[in-house]
Subunit: 196 residues, 2 copies
Amino acid sequence: MNGQPSARNRLLDAAEELAFTQGVAATPVDRILQRANVAPATLYAHFGNKEGLIAEALRRRLQNWDAAWLREIDAAATDRDRLLAVFPALTSYRSGASAARWCAALGVAAETVDPGQQLAETLSQDTQLLTDRFRELAVPVVGADDADAVAAHLLLIFTGVLGMLLRGSSPEEASATGRATAGFVIDGFASSRSAG
Amino acid sequence: MNGQPSARNRLLDAAEELAFTQGVAATPVDRILQRANVAPATLYAHFGNKEGLIAEALRRRLQNWDAAWLREIDAAATDRDRLLAVFPALTSYRSGASAARWCAALGVAAETVDPGQQLAETLSQDTQLLTDRFRELAVPVVGADDADAVAAHLLLIFTGVLGMLLRGSSPEEASATGRATAGFVIDGFASSRSAG
DNA sequence: GTCTATATCCTGATAGAC
DNA sequence: GTCTATCAGGATATAGAC
């Protein structure tokens, strides 16, 4: 009944704030424990090991991102804006509390050669979520026949926006460029559609 | 005068083959030494420390990539194909001897929070090389006024292609999608040019 | 569920001989 | 320039009490 979050949630918060900004391997368990103000044994009781903690933090983060994306989709006025809503969603999500260096999921994928099962599953869920929703949102814009292709392009562009953060680009700049790139692709498909 | 490469080159080869596929942090110095068949002291005599070795391997790799890209540009027939030559260059480069998991430079950037000076310099050179050459190649295709913008789009798209490798995509698939994405962007700029 | 204290291993890097 | 042998520190994870 006190205001203090549980040790479990403090651990997840600390893991997110440290491991997803500094890198998982570069973040010793000790530092997570110190920040969470939690004893080692408590971490292993809850999550089994370090990877279990990271996997759970990643799952939670994926859910939060999904929610932020859906909010931005709801706020959009046209089908086209809904399809492009990932880009404003990214900047608004990143300006919120949690700021990974680029993308938590891709970051973990990049430094984990052979991920455990739960970790691999969460990582593929990220790609799956993006692909599925892009496809769904693309149908009213370019038609069902081209929805798969447009989804593939958007996934690549969005991944490129995230990668640009590693190249030192600002989220706003990368996101704006990506949105414009996506616009060209959508226009290209739309015009070939009206022409056909 | 024997056929055996020098200890220095064996170290660079081993570092490239191990650190850029398994990750730098996940690759202990011991394993590099073992693969290179070299004693620890030799590594530190040549490169100072682990980061020095990685930085040098990255520089060498960047040069090789540049050469491969230039070859592909020379082989292209039209201005447009020269601008799009990065994509076939990527697949041909990756099918060669050295195969990083996605991109050696971005991979190092992803797991290095605070890179040392030589490492940071090499990383920014990668982005700089891409940006400068894209701009140069874009001029005859879309004109000098739009060359900067097109270069920014191509950098993002190319970064996206590399990132797709982390999502499990094949190089051929990612490269083909990226080339198509770039085509839409170029066509968009070219048509607005002829319209203006 | 949580803490204190510790076990165990492995890492990057160095000393000193040749 | 290269080797053998080793140091000192820090990593993950566990034991056992409360």
